[in-house]
């Protein structure tokens, strides 16, 4: 089966892409590789070429499309996928391996997907890794998915095509529905390929608190709320007694903080 690994990339995923390209270089199944970059300007294309060179990736193509950056990631991905689709159709590939550039997979992952596809002549196979941080939650993405050429001959990714939804959001859902609704089939697998590693570590904010810092704690909790990175919060109070912990609980309620834990330890005064 002649497979194209076709991936939309963007500069905002830079730290993931560096590791991911190393992962690409180790993939065992022989496949060609196309990246479509929708970053602002051409600088990122040059950067990715350097990464490829460092990882000794030679068999690749990289294309760039200009998309108005403020239109959002869904449009960038949709338009990049259409380039990949056209490339597959015009170069006679049998299937498209869609693989998100922040997912690390085992070296034999594509071999497994190809084998599965052949066993029952499936049209789409999606290895479901779940939502980030919630692995048991179903997600209809193309994060690690093998898609037969036949699907791509019938359905595209541009909103300009007839019978398309009027939003770029959830393009994968629409695509899958079309495939299944038109006599294709689709298999969702869990745990067959693994383990996978998402680039974002699960972080705990762990902070010691004490009543002597009462002057700062309200402002700090407000600051915690504004943090962009998703993380849980554990505060360990070592003030004497439980008065301060009650006060902090009240602050958390006041600022609507939900994702937190409070613990208290009592330390003998002579040790402080």
């Amino acid at each position: 089966m002649k497979v194209l690994i076709g991936i939309p990339i963007h500069q905002t995923k830079n730290s993931a892409i560096k590791k991911w390209l190393k992962n690409v270089s180790k993939l065992e199944y022989p496949a060609d590789f196309l990246m479509v970059d929708s970053s602002s300007g051409l600088n990122y294309v040059e950067k990715v070429k350097e990464y490829c060179s460092k990882n000794r990736i030679k068999n690749y193509q990289i294309e760039h499309i200009d998309v108005h950056q403020e239109n959002g990631m869904d449009e960038m991905i949709g338009r990049s996928r259409e380039i990949i689709r056209q490339y597959i159709l015009s170069h006679n590939y049998d299937a498209w391996f869609s693989w998100e550039c922040d997912q690390l997979i085992p070296a034999n992952a594509l071999d497994k997907l190809v084998k599965m596809m052949k066993t029952q002549d499936y049209t789409i196979i999606h290895q479901n890794f779940g939502v980030e941080k919630i692995p048991i939650e179903f997600v209809a993405s193309f994060a690690c998915t093998l898609i037969k050429k036949e699907c791509l001959e019938k359905f595209g990714f541009l909103l300009e095509y007839p019978n398309m939804p009027n939003t770029w959001h959830r393009g994968e859902n629409w695509f899958k529905n079309q495939v299944v609704g038109n006599g294709g089939n689709y298999i969702e697998v869990y745990g067959t390929i693994g383990p996978t590693t998402s680039e974002r570590p699960k972080v705990l904010i762990g902070s010691s608190i004490h009543q002597i810092k009462d002057y700062a704690i309200e402002r700090w909790l407000e600051n915690v709320l504004k943090l962009q990175y998703p993380a849980d919060l554990l505060m360990v109070d070592n003030s004497p007694g439980l008065t301060f912990i009650k006060k902090v609980t009240a602050y958390c309620q006041k600022y609507g903080l939900k994702n937190y834990q409070l613990a208290h330890i009592e330390i003998a005064p002579e040790l402080c």
């Binding site: 560096k18 570590p201 010691s208 002057y215 700090w220 504004k226 962009q228 990175y229 070592n238 834990q261």
Partner: protein, 126 residues
């Protein structure tokens, strides 16, 4: 002792990293993203972002005020003096953070010490 409680919680709840953040330091909303990016960039075990000592803006603070620490460090090293099976374990709570950093480096890990990347960190004095 509080850091040891955090360490145990982190290990038993399968976190990948600990964001050690003192409750009198204010950071920009993208501070943790920046630390994660730095950690990923060099597979660092520890990224310590230095700030300044409260009330003394010219004096660099190298403790765990704003630091991201990988789980691997916490699996190997702890904060309790009672775990002093290493002969170098200090007999005082005071230099605990320095001791951990040294152990990480000695054990083959790596650490990144940065200053001025996260703009700005405010160490509240009042």
């Amino acid at each position: 002792m509080s850091q040891e409680v955090i360490r145990q919680y982190l290990l038993s709840h399968h976190y990948d990293a600990w964001f050690s953040w003192e409750c009198d330091q204010l950071v920009p909303s993208n501070a943790l993203n920046q630390l994660v990016d730095m950690m990923n960039a060099g597979s660092f075990w520890m990224v310590n972002h230095n700030g300044w000592v409260r009330g003394h803006p010219g004096h660099t603070n190298t403790d765990f005020g704003v630091s991201l620490i990988k789980r691997d460090c916490l699996e190997q090293y702890s904060f309790l003096l009672e775990y002093g099976f290493d002969s170098d374990m200090p007999d005082s709570w005071e230099p605990g953070e320095v001791w951990i950093k040294k152990q990480v480096l000695k054990g083959g890990g790596n650490a990144l010490e940065v200053e001025g990347i996260i703009k700005s960190i405010y160490h509240l004095d009042k």
